[in-house]
Subunit: 806 residues, 2 copies
């Protein structure tokens, strides 16, 4: 694909081309309206009849004419400059326009031959829109060339910026509706050029489409004076360029729009040429262009319907003529409207786009609806460093300690060094706090603004992007992944809830994409959640929330994975695995604090492969054969998932064993949470017989879990022995306190677990001794808590505890 | 409380007062640093010893000096103008500063006498900070005068705007950290003055505190040129006023800050006077002031530590001197730092604030940390209209239809009319789409910007606020509720996930507040979620998500309620109930489409009171005694929760009954979902024996549920007969299709339910007939689906179904 050659002079387009642009626009408008209304007679070759009209009129006209205008003009730019361009469609329900243009430029029939460039294909195109088994009315995975869902608004511009990273020859044109511009995520995106290096990244051209109204209300940005709008964009670091479409003179906009877009693309080329050493810095300050396109909502549609103004008002948002099937007047008005575009001039006798449109139709991969950036998946697989040099040395007696994220950081640094153009780390200014600062040994934070002496690790181009907006970080990562690259998002566990709904929408995108031939696999979206619920004791209740895992577990099983590595080496192995997967979302929760490093790299590798396993050295089950766990039956199973619950569970087993050496206890650690799920519901679900062999069918399991207990019940309620599964986890009890008090407040501490283990075993040999032990353990809990409240820290008999592996 | 008298001329404050402001600032800085470090020796009456230092050094110094400076200067304004003021502390971890000021102005000891105005109280104040059982390091429910959590950033300004609504005499000073300013929710808040009527609402004074850094990185807004910053605020409709604190001349800032704040408050007074008819419009455009306060991070703290610059860099973010307990040099530096404030001049010999501070200490309720707006809960209870005139007429044969939200709208309109100054409706431009437009008969949308001819229902003051930002709507509602008023948020069900984490944080606020004597109850936060998962068939997968209920169910049971009214009258009764509750979060899900109106108002009232009940007319159980359901045992129980599942469940029972008139079926509808929960876990949980009487202990229950089936299992896993509970709900199968195809895709349709009912009954009298019926029903599902895919709408035998009540 070509990029602009800066040495070519840019010639003004002859007026003739603007007639073609206008014809393209009319054709796209015709097809957009047609998708809302027509199930047959797509070329109006006979007068409209009631039966030509779809039974349910669904879809949104309001935004279509502006999108079509933009698409047509960008085609002119692409053909003229032979530019790689991606079109991000922000406005909600812009699907009809995107489909229309994808058909007109031939991408659609390339991708789906049945939607052919003739009347038959046209009929399918129109009918499938907002129709059962068809395509949604907003840009979606089904929409050729799209990397943005138009269903939930707010993410277009962050997707655009993510797509532009490390794509120096790409320009991403991003149309933003004035409704969408009200959302928080969009508002936080304007300044994302702060993370764009004009030398090595591509460009984003935001096009704010002011059509004045959203569903039922006006939009603030369409109502403020022009000087305020100019200030707003100056204040966000842009150079605003205005295009005004007058309701009464639709055709006159073309000249102005062509000149303005030429100017915008000249400026982008100038900025890039200067940054790439191909030109001197211009005299003016570097400011990226932004286009403000003001056109009436539902432009070129019905002016008035039943005496009420429609064009230019919120009434044009959806279906301007609602009763076309029943009401002959409405139907006549629709026919008049459709014919106003002169379809006979726009389509050939067989129903193909008129050859006159060819001069602004880009060829092959330069067509925006055929962009390989949008469709072709992973551009190059990640090159992985080996894990061995990064593994933590383990000792057994006592078990040594390590910070899990601290151990992962240097490997991540090496991974990023080996993949300098295709791997990025995103974080809401929590990379250092999550102890991943080793990455700054090999790269920097991207920062295109002023850098001063006291700054560290800032540079115009770095592989780390940190902005204090989880939304922006998630959205830019999505844009980066959707265009075929690799990345990782690290966040505090509690605050990842901020992007619950972005997670949901990305999961839905992946769920829908899997069955679409047009979309090749993309790299998985991986979260490394640290500073988790059990180690935010000092930051208090607002920082304590493990509920994101429940959000993840609700999504389709082919898409989601949850990992709770219990130590440093297991985190390393887990991350090595998940970063090599595709079309998934991986949530990995791991601590940053020093904690026991239970497993060697080899053990961790096996453990992650199995997803869950018996840790024979942590239990007490003399007859156990790990290859045939069904051959023996312990008095109780102690399960754990999550690093802190693992510590408490192992400590609890130790307490019980010291007191009751004859009781047999089996400790199972779960790293891949979906192993617990019903195999009918998740591909990782452990088969019933294996589950029963591990967890028994008649002994109690005491489960120490990182998150809300309900999640374990949700995953296991169909398991044979579910009645005897007793889960300890986060009970929504949080405060500013010590680490041990946090687990204790939630009944997840070793003393409570030990009490529960002994209390649940049906036939303890000496019930009196059991009762006495439980009393003592309960009193030890109270002592530990009292100590913390009087000393301000946990007692040494908790923090200095030494673990042993036999 | 007094408000400003506009006729008084504003005199410039004598320089002497600024010395007092400086002394206050120093005292607050001393106390802020002291909270991080000291557990004893609060007045430095002897040289610092290791044992005076807390064992864990937690807390954040960086933001404190700027907050203290602002608080001190606002005190001067309050005393001078006798203004009601609320201080919203946006910066994360600003808790130490807030506590310091609350102690200095005497509010703290009023609220908690043990934190007395002497050395003993001071010792508690310092020690409790970030200490087990103490207070968090950010503003929190425990913080006097606060209505904002500083834990999760982004919501300060929306809280401030919500608090200002309908509080004409209140000015809300809102300090926004430059880190927080990067978040989406904050970015979406700047323009919220669009919903502020200067005649009838109070004012918000945003104070952007540029201290340059967040945790580890610089902030973009602190790095852009001043002209860009000016443009940014002009572009957001503000008049920016700058205050620059020079690191080398901290004291010189006072004069400039006093003049600037005088100017800001003069402008606010001018705008309000003009809008309230007390003055002529000024010649310049109406622009609210915003203050940009630039001071070094950690100002007045250690300049350098161990040779590295700390003041003015990100290293001042948290604990500038980290090793004070062990390292004597650090300890000496801390002592020098603390003594630099001259504590002996700032505190009396007994440890009280020096009398010299009195001249800028507001009295009583004018103290910001004692604001009744923040503490005193509901200002006046809602006046409720009776429901009767709004009830939907029901018929029984066939059952009539109504839109639930359509029936609720007129009652809501009347509720708003009766409570014009204390009730607001918020929505992300979905009030009309959710069929609540009846509210516009009595009030308008607030809109302080330009209004044009084609607009409808816009006015400078209206009780409805609509902005296309769920974040802003949630945040303004929170601010409105937290200051004692009432409100309702309506949204599409899927998109309420956008505010999952705001919901979480508000729930945590309520959970923590309940045990705090300083906080009186506030009105519950109620969500009316419509356009729900089962009726977004036309909008596609992105609009189909019932997962918010799971987020709600995770929170502490005293706080959360979930209601799924099955019809119009039940929605009316539910809303009448929940809007009268306090300190809760109510999630109500109800459809907007025409659907059967099953219950009369009287029946609905009983049904909501009971939370769930048998609908004898919908089942077939001749021996049933509704007052003693345990006296009979049906062959199966059919349960349902949610309007669409109720329709399908009732239709399924009808199908089964027509075919197998001898089978006995009991239909139970659940409106209050928490009735299913274990009574040990939720106050609404149905006692075990009542549950067993209704659901039996040995018969299958087929449960048709609105949301993810896992939620029902989560609530009921401890119930006796849980093994025989079979839940049909959303299985994450969505697309663009018809309403019936949506339920069918997720196995929630009448045919699948009927098949499951018959299939689950252990001893059907005629197994061959049962098998034949199931085959036919399965084929009817396929037929209905095929019809929809070929006709574009559901078949008439589904949509024209008539329901009968016997």
């Amino acid at each position: 694909m070509g990029s602009m050659n800066e040495n070519e002079s840019i010639t003004t387009q002859p007026a003739g081309d603007l007639d073609v642009v206008d014809a393209w626009w009319r054709a796209a408008n015709y097809l957009s309206a047609g998708q809302i209304y027509l199930q047959s007679n797509p070329l109006l070759r006979h007068p409209l009849e009631s039966s030509d009209i779809k039974p349910r009129l669904l879809g949104h006209w309001g935004t279509a004419p502006g999108l079509n205008l933009t698409y047509a003009h960008l085609n002119r730019i692409i053909v003229q400059r032979q530019l790689e361009m991606l079109f991000v469609c922000g406005p909600g329900h812009g699907g009809a326009a995107m489909m229309a243009n994808a058909w007109l430029d031939g991408s659609y029939s390339d991708l789906m031959p049945e939607i052919s460039l003739d009347a038959a294909g046209l009929q399918i195109l129109l009918r499938q829109f907002s129709y059962p088994g068809g395509v949604p009315s907003h840009a979606a995975p089904e929409t050729p060339g799209s990397i943005n869902e138009g269903g939930e608004l707010g993410y277009s511009l962050m997707h655009a910026f993510g797509a532009a990273l490390d794509n120096p020859d790409l320009t991403v044109a991003c149309v933003i509706g004035d409704g969408e511009a009200e959302t928080g995520p969009l508002a936080a995106s304007w300044r994302a050029h702060n993370y764009i290096d004009p030398a090595k990244d591509g460009a984003v051209l935001p096009i704010l489409h002011l059509n004045g109204y959203k569903i039922a209300s006006p939009t603030p940005l369409a109502r403020i004076p022009r000087d305020e709008l100019i200030s707003f964009f100056h204040g966000n670091g842009y150079d605003p360029l205005f295009i005004d479409g007058e309701a009464d003179a639709p055709h006159e906009v073309h000249t102005h729009m062509a000149q303005t877009l030429d100017l915008a693309f000249d400026r982008i080329a100038e900025i890039q040429a200067e940054a790439r050493g191909n030109a001197h810095a211009p005299e003016r300050e570097r400011r990226w262009p932004v286009v403000i396109l003001r056109t009436p909502k539902g432009w070129t549609g019905p002016r008035t319907v039943d005496g009420q103004q429609v064009e230019g008002t919120y009434r044009a948002h959806q279906v301007p003529l609602p009763e076309v099937r029943e009401n002959a007047d409405h139907r006549a008005q629709l026919e008049q409207w459709l014919r106003s575009y002169n379809p006979d001039e726009l389509f050939t006798s067989t129903g193909a786009p008129a050859p006159a449109l060819n001069s602004i139709r880009p060829r092959g991969a330069l067509r925006m609806s055929a962009s390989p950036h949008a469709h072709d998946g992973i551009t190059s697989p990640l090159q992985f460093p080996t894990l061995t040099p990064y593994a933590v040395e383990t000792t057994r007696n006592p078990v040594g300690t390590a910070s899990a994220t601290g151990a992962f950081g240097p490997w991540l640094a090496q991974l990023m060094s080996q993949n300098p153009d295709t791997m990025r780390l995103f974080g809401p200014d929590e990379v250092e706090s999550n102890r991943l600062s080793a990455v700054f040994e090999g790269t920097d934070r991207s920062w295109a603004s002023t850098i001063v002496d006291t700054d560290t690790h800032l540079a115009p181009h770095g592989q780390v992007i940190e902005a204090l907006s989880e939304h922006l970080m998630q959205g830019m990562l999505e844009g980066y992944l959707l265009t075929g690259r690799h990345g990782l998002l690290t966040s505090y566990e509690a605050f990842i809830h901020i992007v619950d709904s972005m997670f949901n929408q990305h999961a839905k995108w992946l769920e829908a994409s899997r069955s679409l031939p047009l979309r090749k696999p993309i790299a998985s979206l991986t979260y490394l959640l640290s500073s988790h619920v059990w180690r935010q004791d000092h930051n208090g209740f607002s920082h304590q929330d493990p509920g994101f895992l429940g959000i993840v577990a609700n999504k389709q099983s082919d898409v989601v994975r949850i990992y709770l590595p219990p130590d440093a080496n297991t985190l390393l192995v887990t991350m090595r695995h998940v970063l090599g997967t595709h079309n998934r979302i991986n949530a990995v929760v791991a601590g940053k604090n020093e904690q026991p490093a239970w497993l060697s790299l080899e053990e961790a590798t096996e453990h992650v492969r199995d997803g869950l396993s018996i840790w024979p050295w942590a239990g007490h089950e003399p007859d156990l054969d790990v290859n045939d766990p069904a051959a023996s039956t312990p008095d109780a199973v102690v399960a754990c998932a999550g690093d802190v619950p693992t510590i408490e569970a192992i400590a609890a087993v130790q307490l019980v064993h010291e007191r009751f050496p004859d009781l047999t206890l089996r400790l199972i650690n779960v790293v891949d949470l979906m192993r617990l799920h019903d195999p009918a519901h998740h591909p990782h679900g452990l088969p019933g017989e294996d589950f029963n062999a591990l967890f028994t069918t008649d002994r109690p399991t005491i489960f120490a879990f990182h998150g809300y207990p309900s999640l374990i019940h949700q995953l296991t309620y169909k398991r044979a022995n579910h009645e005897q599964l007793h889960v300890h986890g986060f009970k929504e009890r949080g405060t500013t306190t010590t680490p041990f008090d946090m687990v204790s407040l939630n009944d997840l501490d070793r003393y409570e677990l030990a009490s529960d283990i002994v209390g649940r075993i049906a036939d303890v040999p000496d019930p009196d001794a059991a009762e006495a032990a439980i009393r003592e353990w309960q009193s030890a809990r109270t002592d530990a808590r009292d100590y913390a409240y009087s000393h301000g820290e946990d007692p040494p008999w908790i923090t200095n505890w030494e673990f042993r592996r036999r």
